[in-house]
């Protein structure tokens, strides 16, 4: 898999290059913001590791330009700053994960693998059910073609319902799917998840079938 590392510090850049290479990735290194933007805009990468403090063009600007141009590869942001305001800014700019310096190299590799795992494994790019569209590559949700930002857990919940059209799914089955194992308390967590999702995507997309479970509207 081909990765782009964007890091201006030569020691940190070389170390990332070497560690990710040893982990089995094909890695390219960009040391300046405008070079990184150009490469991300013109080449296909499985994921990008992006330092925010870059010369010539800062990392957040690079990320915003990629996203506005439709470049949807997963991005792991690296930064020396650990303020929550900046973390939120990074995620809102389109980052998929965030790691503060100094970091342990195994954690970088684990995060990159997690990002790749989330983005992989879908043969079909989109699942469309009524007003709801699930983008299985970007793990995003569209309602009436309008992008709604949901968490990975919320996406997996919708995806589970999307794969069971016309059939209400019981809360404990959904919990088992999401958590592997489930107990009675987890049905409360599913209720809270549905409440939060309805606030984001609207109250009519997920229907509750009393005594049976949850179903996506328009599939019954």
């Amino acid at each position: 898999m081909r990765l782009l590392v964007v890091e201006d510090d030569p020691d940190v850049g070389d170390d990332l290059l070497r560690a990710l290479g040893e982990a089995g990735f094909v890695v390219e290194l960009a040391t300046e913001g405008d070079d990184a933007w150009f490469r991300g805009d013109t080449e296909d990468y499985a994921a990008v590791i992006l330092d925010l403090g870059l010369p010539r063009l800062d990392g957040l600007s690079v990320l915003r330009r990629w996203r506005s141009a439709g470049r949807d590869f997963p991005v792991l942001v690296l930064t020396a700053r650990s303020d929550w305001t900046e973390k939120v800014e990074g995620i809102e700019a389109g980052a998929d994960d965030y790691l503060a310096k100094p970091f342990a190299m195994p954690e970088v590799i684990a995060r990159v693998r997690a990002l790749l795992r989330r983005a992989a494994g879908h043969s079909s790019a989109q699942i469309r059910i009524g007003r709801l569209t699930l983008d299985t590559v970007r793990m995003s949700v569209l309602i009436d073609d309008r992008m709604i930002r949901v968490s990975p857990l919320e996406y997996r919940f919708l995806e589970f319902l999307g794969h069971h059209p016309g059939k209400a799914s019981a809360a404990h089955l959904i919990a088992e799917h999401l958590y592997g194992v489930a107990d009675s308390d987890d049905t409360n967590a599913i209720e809270a998840l549905v409440t939060r999702l309805r606030r984001k995507i609207g109250p009519d997309i997920i229907e509750t079938r009393r005594g049976l479970g949850y179903i996506l509207a328009g599939t019954a």
Partner: protein
């Protein structure tokens, strides 16, 4: 001389002394004026009597003075009566019976065109006030020295009585003027009391400034103090910013050192790499602690008058945590009315909620609940999880900076302590207990005076 370290006492003592000197001089002047007034009155009285004497004065053939009609005042006729007259020529002299066997002393240079006044020791042991003049009743004869005198006992008595009354009056006046000076000093120093109160407020709140509208004489001092406060605030902000920038700028070199450590380990120098890793971890922890302190200090200065939307801040923090390995499995149950605002700067609210929600995620099993409301004039935010909770002793340790309960979790383990520091710096409260989900619940509250109340429920 400690007593004179008081400005009020100095001013009062100065005023008291100045008033005393002024009243003393005034007393002396009044005494002199009174004495001259009494003397003039006595002189006019003697001149009237002299006119009566001169009317009966003539010179006989032998050149001796003769008085045809004596002045009518009986005191001239009674020995040592207090009123005396004497007329004298080179040939002989006459005097009033009151002089008995005494006479009035004569001096050279007595004027002939008006009455001259002088004092002299008189008969019977008394001092005298004398008027005298040369008159020429007959132009062909030599002039006659006419003298009239009055005993000065009455004058001295009047002066003594006046002096006693004057001293009493002036003493009372001194007391009244000193009281007036005290009131004046007190009123005059009152603007300084206001300055003291405002400086005290400035000490408690470095962003406050002394008000304008002070007395013109004090305004330059106010401007200087405000200028000093501005310079101090700027210096502090610059120092904190430099400390934070320095801490941040050291993180990339630490990451580079970490790379060197990996290379050393690959080259077989495991012991050196272990030592390097320990040093990197210690430096990283110290940097985080320093950054936390810098942020808390900035929060202390920045929160007054600030407010931040709670729901938007929580959603932003949750959007970050949902993408972390620990957070992606968690359901975030957010119950906060839109429009609810906390009386802190947005960046500080993000740091507080970020640290608390991240800590909740680390310990949660499935759910983290975040709620916010205004109750009893307090904005109360609750972050609870469905984890195993913290025993009381551990809760105490958790809010102590530098301790870390969960060595295996991500982050630096300072979450609750960082949040506590920020909450304290922004005049808030932080409590911990068992929450509705069975795990730890952290309650953060601020007085709702400056926060905005929600406009809808959400």
């Amino acid at each position: 001389m400690m007593i004179f370290s008081s400005l009020r006492l100095r001013l009062l003592a100065g005023a008291g002394l100045a008033i005393l000197v002024a009243l003393g001089l005034a007393g002396l002047g009044l005494g002199l004026i009174f004495e001259r007034h009494i003397e003039h009155r006595e002189m006019r009285s003697l001149e009237d009597k002299a006119d009566e004497l001169l009317a009966g004065l003539r010179i006989d053939q032998a050149g001796k003075p003769v008085i045809d009609n004596f002045p009518s005042d009986n005191r001239f006729n009674r020995p040592a009566g207090g009123l005396y007259w004497q007329v004298a020529t080179p040939k002989g002299s006459l005097h009033s019976p009151s002089l008995w066997d005494q006479s009035l002393g004569q001096t050279a240079g007595t004027p002939s065109d008006g009455w001259a006044t002088r004092r002299l020791a008189g008969p019977f042991g008394h001092g005298l006030l004398v008027i005298e003049r040369l008159v020429r009743p007959d132009p062909s004869n030599r002039p006659v020295l006419v003298q009239l005198a009055t005993d000065d006992d009455a004058l001295l008595q009047a002066r003594r009585e006046f002096g006693v009354e004057l001293v009493g009056s002036l003493a009372m006046l001194w007391v009244v003027l000193v009281i007036a000076a005290y009131v004046q000093v007190k009123l005059g120093l009152r603007p300084l009391l206001r300055v003291r109160d405002e400086i005290d407020r400035l000490r408690r709140n470095p962003n406050a400034r002394l008000s304008t509208g002070h007395a013109r004489e004090i305004q330059p001092l106010i401007n200087a103090i405000n200028g000093l406060a501005d310079a101090r605030t700027t210096d502090l902000a610059r120092a904190r910013s430099r400390a934070a920038d320095l801490a941040h700028s050291l993180k990339t070199p630490l990451a580079a050192l970490s790379a060197q450590s990996r290379r050393a380990r690959e080259a077989g120098a495991s012991d050196a790499a272990d030592g390097l890793d320990r040093a990197i971890a210690a430096a990283g922890a110290a940097l985080e602690a320093e950054l936390g302190r810098a942020r808390s200090a900035i929060a202390r200065d920045a929160h007054r008058g600030a407010s931040a939307p709670v729901l938007e801040t929580v959603e932003g923090v949750v959007s970050v945590l949902e993408r972390t390995e620990a957070g992606e499995r968690i359901v975030f149950d957010i119950d906060i009315a839109s429009g609810l605002e906390a009386p802190v700067a947005a960046a500080d609210l993000a740091e507080i909620l970020g640290a608390l929600i991240e800590n909740a995620v680390r310990h949660a099993r499935r759910r983290v609940r975040i709620s916010g409301e205004i109750a009893s004039r307090q904005i109360m935010l609750c972050i609870s999880d469905d984890g195993s909770g913290l025993p009381d002793a551990q809760a105490l340790i958790a809010v102590t900076r530098g301790t870390r309960l969960d060595e295996t979790g991500p982050g630096h383990g300072f979450g609750l302590a960082i949040a506590r520091d920020h909450v304290v710096a922004t005049d808030g409260t932080l409590e911990m207990g068992v929450g509705v989900l069975g795990g730890l619940e952290v309650r953060v509250g601020w007085a709702s005076g400056t926060g905005r109340e929600p406009h809808t429920s959400g």
